[in-house]
């Protein structure tokens, strides 16, 4: 798993040269072939298509819908409107505060946890590791709902319990999760598991003798941390921050659930509300302008990140590890640190789980108390299991997850092969196709795909397949990062040996490449599946009455105030994602060992 995620931030993770550079051998090239060209055409449609659509509608007057044949109603009106509205700037500010504060907090927490687990003698580091990573199974949307139940200002469970102590007499507070600080706290907690995984993975792969050498040079533990460990981790840290930045700005889940009730609007929710207005017609032109702006905001740090990565090859510090790194002695602080970590886990992971289970068994939400035990009922669960909508949304979720992840891995495999193995004149296109989806925030992809299939007549619009298409575009970068790494590890000689043994291209793929890549593909499949079923943004942007998935169904019932139903569905979806992430860890790890 650590490797998966390590690769997940590493765009095109071709192995870099080690510091003691070996002579550079020119890479042997293979021909791209007709299937390769066909693949590129399909990917251009999936990746460039949405961007072109966005540009088109952003620069058109869309009062009569998007026009795709002359005469084009060209206009700059959308951008003028966007840039002259006060709302735009307050959204921009809110997005910036939301993103930077949650990134800062989550990385401080993640780094502290990673350092404690990997570099100190804190008790039970393996146990802490598992507990810290476990919340990856909980979708951000569901943790937002759980915190809504726990700390909404009126009848949040924690508020009902704390109010008599701190706020006697008041009808709201003392906590209010429907606010910017609330959003930041929940988003920070949601970012921790992946950031923690990335940092521990790179701490583990760091050559321990670099730290040993500093110690043998007379540097104490803190100096080693400040002057050697952290500087060496910088490329990974910057990469992880940029990756998580896109995660923060692209999703609607936390801003929608926690931001809207408190009138805090960020970019993703702004785009969603313009395209799904409560009254009147959606303004596709204006929302496209917002989409384009958001695309630029996401792209800028990614370009910076790729620069850092180019330099990071110098930092290649991965060697065969001879000795376990030395752990700092915390002394009496060991147990203090351990207790602090346990409190953190209890608040961020156990408490939300408990409130969801509790909410699913109660007719309405109230403070934890003995009297609430008398109200316990399974009616929420029986209602769900007797509901046709529940079963169709569950099956839609699974079908979309399965089909998207198979498609993503198949396309990624072909694309990575072109990137790694061929250096034809159009290989730059392959690079761009693998890179761009990463810079396309989910909300933007959702908007663009929506616009495309509003135009193209046929059965796609409103079906589950429109969601599959959007997800395939969104997760292409994630998939190629894994497959590019996988193919780069297979020497080209193995393919050539297949050819010289008389096998044709198809047979080489079938008998040599696919078997060797099986672990990577399985791993990627599970990772994409897990990410896809947790996704609220795309299904919500593309929602119709017939393509409801678990995530949208949860949002709808939450929005309708059906707390018990929301909690039941949340527990079920969490169970599905937890099973998927356990499988991912099991097969993912096994897969890594084999390569």
């Amino acid at each position: 798993m650590t490797r998966v995620v390590d690769n997940a931030v590493r765009y095109r993770s071709a192995p870099g040269p080690s510091p003691a550079a070996k002579p550079i051998r020119r890479r042997r090239r293979l021909r791209i072939g007709a299937p390769g060209i066909a693949l590129l055409v399909l990917l251009v449609y999936l990746v460039i298509g949405p961007i072109a659509m966005l540009l088109l509608s952003g620069f058109e007057n869309t009062t009569l819908g998007v026009v795709i044949r002359p005469p084009f109603p060209w206009t700059l009106e959308n951008f003028v409107k966007m840039l002259t509205t006060q709302q735009t700037y307050s959204v921009l500010l809110a997005t910036a505060v939301f993103a930077f504060a949650s990134l800062l907090i989550s990385f401080v927490i993640s780094f502290a946890l990673a350092w404690l687990v990997e570099r100190t003698d804190i008790p039970l580091p393996g146990f802490i590791y598992v507990l810290t990573v476990a919340p990856t199974g909980m979708p951000g949307m569901i943790s937002a709902i759980a915190w809504g139940l726990l700390a909404n200002p009126v009848n949040g469970v924690l508020n009902l319990m704390l109010r008599p102590l701190f706020h006697a007499g008041a009808s709201t507070g003392p906590l209010n999760v429907y606010s910017m600080p609330g959003m930041i706290a929940v988003q920070s907690i949601a970012l921790v598991p992946l950031s923690f995984l990335l940092i521990t993975a790179s701490l583990r792969s760091m050559n321990p003798s670099l730290e040993d050498a500093a110690r043998a040079s007379g540097a104490g533990p803190l100096r080693v941390l400040a002057r050697v460990s952290i500087p060496l981790l910088t490329p990974v840290l910057v990469g992880a921050i940029v990756y998580q930045f896109v995660t923060v700005i692209e999703g609607v889940d936390i801003p929608l659930i926690l931001g809207l009730p408190g009138h805090v609007t960020v970019f993703s929710t702004e785009v969603y509300t313009i395209t799904h207005p409560a009254f009147g017609l959606p303004d596709y032109g204006l929302s496209s302008a917002y989409g384009i702006l958001l695309l630029v905001i996401a792209l800028a740090p990614l370009i910076l990140y790729n620069r850092v990565l180019a330099r990071a090859q110098d930092y290649a510090t991965v060697t065969g590890k001879a000795f376990r790194p030395r752990r700092a002695r915390l002394g009496a602080w060991r147990w203090v640190a351990f207790a602090a970590v346990m409190v953190y886990v209890a608040i961020t992971f156990v408490l939300p789980l408990i409130v969801l289970l509790y909410g699913s068994l109660e007719p309405y939400i109230g403070a934890f108390s003995l009297s609430s035990l008398e109200r316990l009922t399974l009616s929420g669960w029986t209602n769900a299991f007797h509901s046709h909508l529940f079963w169709s949304s569950l099956s839609n979720t699974l079908v979309i997850g399965l089909v998207s992840s198979v498609l993503v891995m198949a396309l990624s495999l072909g694309l990575s092969w072109i990137i790694v193995r061929t250096k034809s004149r159009i290989a730059w296109l392959a690079d761009i196709l693998a890179f761009l989806p990463h810079a396309m925030p989910g909300i933007v992809i959702g908007l663009a795909v929506l616009l495309i299939y509003l135009l193209i007549p046929g059965p796609i619009y409103g079906s589950i397949w429109i969601v599959v298409i959007a997800m395939t575009t969104q997760y292409l970068s994630l998939g190629t990062r894994l497959t590019t790494g996988g193919i780069a590890q297979i020497q080209v000689g193995l393919e050539e040996a297949g050819r010289t043994s008389g096998a044709n291209a198809a047979r080489v793929w079938l008998r040599v490449l696919l078997p060797l890549l099986r672990p990577v593909l399985l791993n990627g499949f599970l990772l994409v599946f897990l990410t896809a079923i947790k996704n609220l943004t795309l299904p919500l942007m593309l929602q119709s009455s017939t393509n409801t998935v678990m995530a949208t169904e949860i949002w709808n019932s939450w929005n309708d105030g059906k707390v018990t139903q929301t909690a039941v569905l949340s527990v079920i979806l969490t169970a599905v994602t937890v099973v998927a992430s356990i499988l991912l860890r099991r097969f993912g790890d096994a897969g890594d060992d084999r390569l």
Partner: protein, 373 residues
């Protein structure tokens, strides 16, 4: 007053996958000031663990270590690595890639508690780089260096603090053969010029023999023989040492007579006149150890005390000589012959050995070193 390094009853064990591993087993060493002391042995023999215990990168289970008369490990104290007066060179050099050459070397000066003036740091970095012939690279980024340059840089970094003790963990093993030979000579020169107590860890007998003032051969966590290079090579005290230090052929036998003038050993290849060994009593089961370069391959017996008939099984011309594998009875002998007169495979030859070159060892763990090297 100060002896260089004193190690007493060093013991280190750990549990790995539920199994207890004894990495260092009751090792005691007394290393004099300015000595070039080598820990030699195969991988896993405990030599690197011993070195890391001296550096403080491992904490031994028990035992004491004194550096320059100061106890750094004992029942009462464990001085952390950064407070020990050492310099260390790592097998992979451990050059910090995010620092320049200058910054790498200056790090130990800046890390210490004593604040040095900037001019002094610059002067000492330049001096250290000059010592290893790296002055012209002072402004380079560390990642722009070749393997050999990184190795020199790593040595400059270890020496810049002018520590009491220099620790070298297989510093030459990542270099290619030519460079390794050159660096070997330089390493010795620098060590003598600086005059610093040095502990060198290697699995390469040539490095050990050519560099050291003294060698401790380790196996299975124990020191099996300690002595100067000549003693180790010429009078190994067991089969492991004989086999590990040099490619040795062994022939089992029984001591017939043993006195200060020499030993006569009866073997399946006949009786051998051998060098004396006080540990051997008449009647003892023994093993004869024969070095390839002390076997003279010829077509007739010469004045040597021992001559054996053999057949050439393999004859490899290696430039400065000929490597032979010879079949004598049921035994394989390895010999090194002159380049000019090469016997072809299949030739019947006579192998001549002087009595002084026949080392008699008590019979024991034949093949413990995993075959001839």
């Amino acid at each position: 007053m100060s002896s260089g390094i004193r190690i007493e009853k060093l013991h280190h064990r750990y549990t790995s996958k539920g199994r207890e591993v004894v990495a260092v087993d009751e090792v005691s060493l007394d290393i004099a000031q300015n000595e070039f002391f080598t820990l030699l042995g195969p991988s896993g023999c405990g030599k690197t663990t011993t070195l890391r215990c001296i550096a403080g990168l491992e904490t031994p289970t028990s035992g004491t270590i004194e550096l320059g008369g100061v106890a750094v490990v004992s029942d009462r104290v464990t001085v952390p690595t950064h407070k020990r007066d050492i310099g260390m060179v790592f097998q992979d050099y451990a050059i910090w890639p995010h620092m320049s050459v200058f910054e790498n070397v200056a790090f130990p000066l800046r890390a210490g508690r004593a604040r040095l003036k900037r001019t002094e740091i610059e002067a000492r970095v330049e001096e250290a780089l000059g010592l290893v012939n790296m002055s012209q690279f002072i402004d380079r980024r560390a990642t722009q260096l070749s393997g050999g340059q990184q190795q020199r840089l790593s040595l400059a970094r270890a020496l810049v603090r002018q520590p009491k003790v220099l620790l070298l963990d297989e510093p030459l093993s990542n270099l290619d053969a030519k460079l390794r030979e050159q660096m070997r000579a330089e390493l010795r020169q620098i060590q003598q010029r600086v005059g610093i107590t040095t502990v060198f860890v290697t699995h390469d007998q040539v490095e050990a023999l050519s560099l050291s003032t003294r060698i401790a051969v380790m196996n299975g966590g124990r020191v099996v023989q300690e002595g100067d290079p000549k003693e180790i090579y010429l009078t190994p005290n067991d089969e492991f040492v004989a086999n590990f230090v040099g490619a040795t052929s062994f022939i089992p036998g029984t001591a017939v007579t043993a006195d200060p003038a020499g030993i006569v050993v009866e073997t399946p290849l006949g009786a051998f006149q051998c060098a004396p060994n006080t540990e051997i009593a008449p009647g003892a089961e023994v093993v004869l150890a024969l070095r390839p370069e002390s076997l003279r391959v010829s077509d007739a017996a010469d004045a040597s005390e021992n001559s054996i008939a053999a057949t050439v099984a393999l004859s490899l011309f290696v430039g400065e000589g000929v490597d032979y594998r010879l079949a004598a009875g049921d035994f394989e002998l390895r010999a090194r012959g002159a380049a000019r007169a090469q016997f072809p495979a299949g030739a019947k030859v006579v192998v001549n050995v002087a009595a002084a070159d026949c080392v008699v060892l008590p019979a024991g763990r034949l093949g413990a070193a995993g075959g001839a090297r």
